[in-house]
Symmetry: D2
């Protein structure tokens, strides 16, 4: 995945707290638990930008993940609060590329995890990629891009 320089103030923020079920025997967050937070942040960012994901699914579409890249820098421990920050790259083709940073909050913000996730639109029925985006999806993407530009302003 290409990695354009993210603009610092375009991040959507999704706060989380590490609960027992997120940890493993080491007392830190199990590496797969981050995926649930990254998904929640993405879905809530879409919602903030005007797209209800469940309505999108009811329309007969899905947005499966086609690529996932994560770098784990610092572990998060039981009970700590962190911020999942996400950002949508300007959309050029069929892929939606989301960038991520997960930062612990106290005592000072520290980058713990960074990553990228790519999604494509498919038909639920045959799970084939939707290459010519339907008008309703284009509208939504325009809304999301507008949303991020507004964050930036």
């Amino acid at each position: 995945m290409s990695e354009p320089l993210p603009k610092p103030n375009r991040w959507f923020n999704y706060p989380i707290r590490v609960q027992p079920h997120h940890t493993d025997y080491g007392g830190v967050v199990w590496h797969g638990s981050y995926i649930t937070w990254m998904e929640s942040a993405r879905v809530e960012c879409l919602r903030a930008a005007g797209l209800s994901f469940e309505q999108f699914v009811q329309l007969g579409y899905d947005l499966p993940v086609v690529a996932l890249d994560i770098r784990y820098r610092q572990p998060l421990r039981l009970g700590v609060e962190a911020m999942v920050k996400t950002q949508l790259e300007p959309v050029k083709g069929v892929r939606l590329n989301w960038h991520y940073k997960i930062e612990s909050i106290e005592p000072v913000p520290q980058l713990c995890v960074s990553g990228q996730v790519s999604l494509v639109t498919v038909n639920v029925r045959d799970r084939k990629i939707v290459r010519r985006l339907p008008a309703e999806i284009k509208t939504v993407i325009a809304q999301i891009e507008g949303y991020f530009q507004q964050l930036e302003a």
Copy 2:
């Protein structure tokens, strides 16, 4: 849920191993992880008895859990092997009642978890309970009961 005395040799056996993602900060299995094993054991027992659960779903039915009772007696630790034992109570109404024992294997078998899970048949479309079981499901239940009687013989 009623608790008829389970006959000792009617258990379907499903072996598992505790992996890192099953554990929590305490180094033992997180209490919710057992639910995944109980489900896998149940689905594989149905398969052994002749019911492919995915075909059942394709026919437009589902088997949601309506009740779950678990007693945790001894923790299972990272890396140990255990046996999930399950048994279907003779079916009288719309509920399928499954009994469970989860036993560690070494150094000697030890009862770690016991439980019961009740399921009902619903239509996928409206998720309403199917009270008059379709012929195809009755056949399957008869097969399952025959399967358990065969285990017993």
Copy 3:
């Protein structure tokens, strides 16, 4: 588990939203996903009452679940918001008994799941039950009970 009548205004409220990772092939919440919400609600209720669970663990204690009873009444669907309501039964022995109700919010509140979870205090080292509660834990339980009485007032 005993089931004393819960007083209606003693509930601690923990809001959740159904995300894709909570669902299964049926488009509704997978029955094990509720366990994560019930745990988060309990930990955050303890925190609101003055107990940081992670400090409790650092002191060398743990609070494993010894019993879990759940009744599933109505499924929760992708995208809906719900309220996890929990309540601690007055503590008499070594068990902490928590009652639960999970209610959907829109269009009108509807009871979807009810349940009980029992915990005991153990030493992390040998995982033996702590029968004579240390002063620091007694203080915390008193705080929690005070917290619930305050909710009730």
Copy 4:
């Protein structure tokens, strides 16, 4: 991560079956579920090569994931069987780089997921990277490499 050509016959095979808890509303495996299978395959590969991961942890070490790259090519559906294939890259520094292929089995083998996972050895106590590998770990890595060469022979 570098991507040396994997030798075709050096794969460790770990079979899985898609259960209800692995799926999401789309009826296919949720993208995070693959991480649990990749972990299980890795731990069982280490075990086959002579390393009991739980003993490794008891010695005071851990093997956290520091990087994860996954490409999702074809979805796996409820009930299907698949093979998780993994391979350890020859170890040069502190990183253990594992390659993965997940293939459906029927009607013909099909590549569904590919990926790489990198781990480092840390002390459990301070979670600092162990740069000069202790003799016991070197022995284990030599064993693993021997194991893979044996697969190749």
